[in-house]
Amino acid sequence: MTSSNFPLKVDYCGVCSLPPEYCEHGPLFDKCKEWMEENLPDEYARLILNKTQEELEAMSLNNSKKKQTRGGKAMKNITKKQEVQKQVVVGRSMRARKKYVTLVRGLKTCDMNLKKCSKAFGQKFACGSSVTGDDEITVQGDVVDDMMDFIVEELGIDDDLVVDGGDIKD
């Protein structure tokens, strides 16, 4: 290993994000195995197929009937992504009587990078755009209609998920 060129490339399990050799200590070993079989067949062969059945059973914590093993309950949870309803709301909010800002909420539920989106909006509409909350982008100017088209076409979010929120009051 010492002679190889750095940086080494290390593959990480897509399920539990650990290097695959540590998957067995994670809580979702079974799912990891499936993922590994599909995506990293070499690793899979090295880690799983070369072992006997007994060894495998010993590895899988989930099979043990004891509720609690020494060393605590192993690793907990690994925050399962909560299934949030995907919806992007585009609305506008009044600013200084006759000027508007456009608010886009919910992009995060569609796994978008807010910062990048905000940059894209700013460039597209030639106006100020900023991330203003946990899941909110404010674009200066009333661009609600264009914004909805833009989100559908450029960001590849499904048409049905994008909703016109009308006037949003803060």
């Binding site: 290993m1 490339k9 290390v10 994000s17 050799e21 540590y22 605590g72 690793m75």
Partner: protein, 181 residues
């Protein structure tokens, strides 16, 4: 250190690092980890702006745009993150724990001496003084599973063989591993 660590709660603020500070960090890193001098430009490209992410408990993370590279607590040494360590495993001196310890280490336990002296484990020949950052490997595995700093010198670990030998600073799947900037 990162057992309870969540992006939303623990991060206080993010700042760009000034160029001059960036340079001093760079020299400091080379000082601490002479092995990475060759690769320092790959790790910290000169052109890229670094950010320092301040967190609770005086923890600071050094990151580029999308990746956290180093962290430190108060004025302590810089530690690499595990992802970085996996790419450059020679950065830190290695110690190895036995199989039985893996589970405990992965749930954040400090590393006890017996886990470092048993047959499956391995300590380097030369003496590691206290407070050295080390990478903790495991019996039969390739990649490091934790980063720690020596609570006792490795000679003491061998002779006393009791209690906490290495403080577990950062381990696989802790808050820092899972964090997403």
């Amino acid at each position: 250190m990162f057992k309870k660590f969540e992006a939303k709660e623990s991060i206080v603020g993010t700042n760009q690092i000034k160029n001059s500070v960036q340079r001093s960090i760079r020299t400091k890193l080379i000082d601490t980890y002479p092995n990475i001098e060759e690769y320092i430009n790959d790790i910290l490209p000169k052109k890229v702006n670094l950010k320092v992410v301040k967190c609770q408990d005086h923890i600071e993370l050094i990151s580029t745009d999308d990746e956290i590279l180093f962290f430190k607590k108060r004025d302590g040494p810089f530690y690499p993150t595990l992802r970085l360590l996996h790419m450059y495993p020679n950065m830190l001196p290695k110690v190895q724990v036995d199989k039985g310890a893996i589970k405990f280490v992965l749930s954040g336990a400090h590393i006890m001496c017996p886990g470092l002296t048993s047959p499956g484990a391995d300590l380097p020949e030369e003496c590691l003084p206290t407070d050295t950052p080390v990478s903790v490997h495991a019996e039969g595995k390739i990649n490091a599973l934790a980063i720690g700093h020596m609570k006792m010198s490795s000679d003491d670990i061998k002779s006393i063989n009791k209690g906490v030998g290495i403080d577990n600073v950062h381990y696989l799947n802790d808050g820092l591993w899972r964090i997403d900037l």
